[in-house]
């Protein structure tokens, strides 16, 4: 079913909306959750929480791109679960992703200033639009979709070392861009 049709079902408050969402995007949401969480029960829970959150959000929210809308919800729910889990239960691959992102933060130990949600996102958008396409896609696949290095190497048909170096350079450039933008990280 097309995304428009699925959204219409949400607006009509039809339970079929969940069925159709699961059919079309269930696997997609599970992949995102699996990249962040390690336990099967957490992944199941995350997927179901995504459907519930979507049901509660639509309406009034009208998603632009349904896949991205659902992916965002899954991502945030999975991140919350990851933070809640003890170190033993956490997904180590995802921990590595968060550790990489620390490289974009000038000094994790400084006193944190206030920032508005979305303020940094617009600078990130500006940065991503300004870089070369392949580097941009690799960055997004790593830090939005949480793909592993091996998955990225296979997807973009390059060695793991090359993937790592592209990510490394892009993170450095992002850090510099955010600092220039006056975002106090």
């Amino acid at each position: 079913m097309e995304d428009q049709g699925i959204v219409r079902l949400y607006l009509q408050r039809s339970q079929q909306a969940i069925v159709e969402t699961k059919k079309k995007y269930g696997a997609y949401c599970r992949v995102i959750a699996r990249n962040i969480l390690s336990s099967l029960s957490d992944i199941d829970e995350c997927e179901n929480d995504t459907y519930l959150a979507a049901w509660n959000a639509i309406p009034p929210t009208m998603p632009g791109k349904l896949s991205v809308f659902l992916g965002r919800i899954t991502r945030n729910i999975a991140l919350d679960k990851h933070s809640y889990n003890t170190a033993k239960k956490r997904n180590r691959q995802f921990d590595a992703i968060l550790t990489e992102l620390e490289g974009c933060i000038a000094s994790p130990d400084t006193v944190e200033g206030e920032y508005e949600a979305g303020e940094t996102a617009s600078l990130i958008n500006e940065f991503l639009y300004g870089i070369e396409e392949q580097a941009r896609n690799i960055f997004i696949r790593r830090y939005w979709y949480s793909d592993s290095i091996e998955e990225l190497a296979m997807r973009f048909q390059m060695s793991s070392s090359k993937v790592k170096s592209i990510l490394f350079r892009t993170r450095n450039k992002l850090r510099a861009h955010l600092a220039k933008g006056g975002v106090h990280l």
Partner: protein
């Protein structure tokens, strides 16, 4: 900001970007060999067996002669004479339908600078390309015209205190930078001043000192960056500064530091400036242990005394 917060902020990026990345790349690498690779390998096998037979014949013919090779040049290794520059070939290539060939030809025509007749012909043929709708071709043509007409107004040219000029060709042909060859015009004569080898595959920047006696040359691969200072007039070059800083700092901080056999350093430099006519300063991201450790440092290097200081950045 915590790292989890940054991760959430990344989640808010533009939907178009997320969607584009979702379908980027290939899902899976195809298994098995494609037919074209089989054909290529077959051709290589045929070529090498023919070449071996010919070489063996030559060897037996000359078996009685005593060979003496003083120095192995590239053409000696290829058993071919060194290719000579053929400006006419590149003039002809300007007529090609293939934009890549045209782009290469435009850049290579600059090498005909020392031949006045070729220079005049090239200038004449290059003029229409300065307005080409392909920006890469237009830029290349504008630069070639600037050099061949001896105007020397382009910002890509570094003018030195001794009156000579340094530049690169194939400027920014790649996202990474320009061709890794430095050209120099001195006393109205063009020469290839120096070239860099792997991993310095691209020249990204040339920064002259305030008095224009020294020039810092920044090169890179797709993984690493490198910085050297050259005194062109005296023909002296500093050691490579990023690797030097990496080794020095690693020793001071007792970090396990190794130099890779491919000389990649996975490190980079930014904010490269001349503090004075002799001292270069930059901020380095120095990588150790396969990028598990990244040290952000400030590096200063005095060219004349060869003194380097590396301090951790706050």
């Amino acid at each position: 900001m915590k790292r989890e917060e940054l991760y959430r902020e990344i989640g808010l990026m533009d939907e178009d970007l997320i969607e584009a990345a979702g379908s980027s790349g290939a899902e899976k690498r195809k298994k098995g060999f494609s037919k074209k690779w089989v054909a290529l390998v077959a051709c290589l096998v045929l070529y090498s067996s023919t070449a071996s037979a010919l070489l063996a014949t030559e060897y037996y013919k000359n078996q009685n002669a005593e060979p003496y090779i003083r120095y192995l040049r590239a053409e000696d290794m290829e058993l071919l004479p060194a290719p000579k520059y053929d400006g006419m070939k590149f003039l002809q290539a300007l007529k090609s339908d293939n934009e890549e060939h045209v782009y290469v030809a435009i850049n290579r025509l600059v090498e005909g600078f020392n031949d006045p007749s070729l220079r005049a012909k090239a200038l004449n043929k290059l003029q229409p390309f300065a307005g080409n709708e392909n920006p890469k071709i237009a830029d290349a043509a504008a630069f070639a015209i600037d050099i061949l007409s001896q105007s020397y107004r382009s910002p890509y040219i570094v003018k030195l205190a001794d009156g000579s000029m340094l530049f690169t060709l194939f400027n920014h042909y790649s996202d990474y930078g320009s061709q890794n060859v430095l050209w120099r015009i001195k006393d109205n004569k063009l020469e290839e001043y120096s070239s860099f080898s792997a991993p310095s595959m691209y020249i990204t920047e040339m920064i002259p000192s305030p008095d224009k006696r020294l020039v810092a040359v920044v090169t890179c691969s797709n993984k690493s960056e490198f910085v050297q200072i050259i005194n062109v007039e005296a023909g002296r070059t500093s050691p490579e500064l990023i690797e030097s800083a990496r080794v020095k700092y690693g020793a001071e901080q007792e970090i396990d530091t190794w130099i890779r056999p491919d000389y990649e350093n996975y490190s980079d430099a930014s904010n490269i400036v001349w503090k004075d006519n002799d001292t270069l300063e930059f901020e380095g991201s120095l990588a150790y242990q396969d990028t598990e450790i990244i040290e952000n440092v400030s590096v200063t290097y005095q060219f004349s005394s060869k003194v380097m200081e590396v301090t951790k950045l706050n």
